[in-house]
Symmetry: C2
Subunit: 228 residues, 2 copies
Amino acid sequence: MKIELGWLLMATSTVENYLKAVLRQEEATGSTTVGEVAKELAVTPGTVTTMMKHLDEEKLVDYQPRKSLSLTLEGRSAALKVVRRHRLIELFLVQIMGLDWSEVHEEAEILEHVISDRLLDRIDVMLGEPTHDPHGDPIPDRDGNLAQVEATPLDEAEGGNYRIVRVSDDDSDLLGWLDENGLTIGEEFALAHPNRAAGVLEISRSTGAKVQLGVQAAGQVFVEAISA
Amino acid sequence: MKIELGWLLMATSTVENYLKAVLRQEEATGSTTVGEVAKELAVTPGTVTTMMKHLDEEKLVDYQPRKSLSLTLEGRSAALKVVRRHRLIELFLVQIMGLDWSEVHEEAEILEHVISDRLLDRIDVMLGEPTHDPHGDPIPDRDGNLAQVEATPLDEAEGGNYRIVRVSDDDSDLLGWLDENGLTIGEEFALAHPNRAAGVLEISRSTGAKVQLGVQAAGQVFVEAISA
DNA sequence: AACAATATCTTGATCAGTCAAGATAAAATG
DNA sequence: CATTTTATCTTGACTGATCAAGATATTGTT
Ligand SMILES: [Mn+2]
Ligand SMILES: [Mn+2]
Ligand SMILES: [Mn+2]
Ligand SMILES: [Mn+2]
């Protein structure tokens, strides 16, 4: 007769990663599947099946085998807490510790599971309760409210003037390259009429500098149109 | 036929804790035993036996069942790296993050296993390559050299004038109490002739304040004699 | 030495997380 | 609709870490 305190209080870091994966896909595409989660976490589908049965018992996901898979409110809230941690940690590492925006994701991927609430709070305060991480992703607030970022992937944009509002944070090489070319959050540029056939986009900075990038890379850069 | 790269490179956090425990006891008493390690890590002796056989294979400890147990050079070096991490992290949490010296040990106990070398380096530089942690413990340098702290446990001191050079860092309550009474590293005081029978020591600060503390607590405070 | 007490070891089990590979259901295709 | 393809599930096995409890060696005592 073992006392089962705190299973729902004490999500293991593995569990947190599964919840995050489901959340990310729900946010990105409105829903998810066992297969997608397996791909994202680089495990076999069977492993995900097993885990989802567990999480369903813990009421963190709603899982109907072969039918549907989604976060419960509780699961979503747990996932958002981890995302909050992740993004605050990333910003902390860039802003306070002076790490590069291209090298903080991996570190945050681990620290998000182990930092104490107390330390996270210090970080939050130290950063002035920020709303966005170094890559332009919104930071969920303490109550788990997540702001929407509506932005167009650059590879789908027409010719015109744009500002960078978000960049996918998991491709370290791309982030490094963007940084070298001065293409960081908030930067503005003009996009030439896209020449789709070639699969290359050309960008002009106000400095006169021109930069080419492939559609592949462009798909990870999110922009909003500006007037100027 | 699985390729066994990196077992010695990649000590799991459990392994790191075993190595640290052995090191701590070797430093404290010159040697250690399966039983002592078991006590320190709050596991059963059998578990330690099993682990030591593994560590012996990995050449991290020298283990002769029922005979002797000690760190190899490699094991010692690995343990010292973890200790270095632990202490740098503690100091970072106090100095940069503004946490209390009574609440950093637990946090460091976890972070020591997950912080990247890159981040640790930033911390080290940010702190000015410090030599001692918030509790007066010496921080091993990059090459694994550990300075000796020779200091007397307060409960063994005669009457006279002393300076606090080190405090045991794992008793949060004691640390809190010491802090409230202004008894931090570097502070000086006069110890009245100890009245051993009562098990209570009396300390006088230069401010005139007097403080009593039990031998139990005094045993965790380490001092050096001063002239004044 | 003989016996008791203590320390340590061994064995068999459990738990979380995972994979491989075969079984099955659902979807897509002709 | 019958068949192929794809997605998902199930089962059996493995790893690292652990405990319980019985077996054994060592040490201390008379
Ligand atoms: Mn990230
Ligand atoms: Mn990010
Ligand atoms: Mn400590
Ligand atoms: Mn310390």
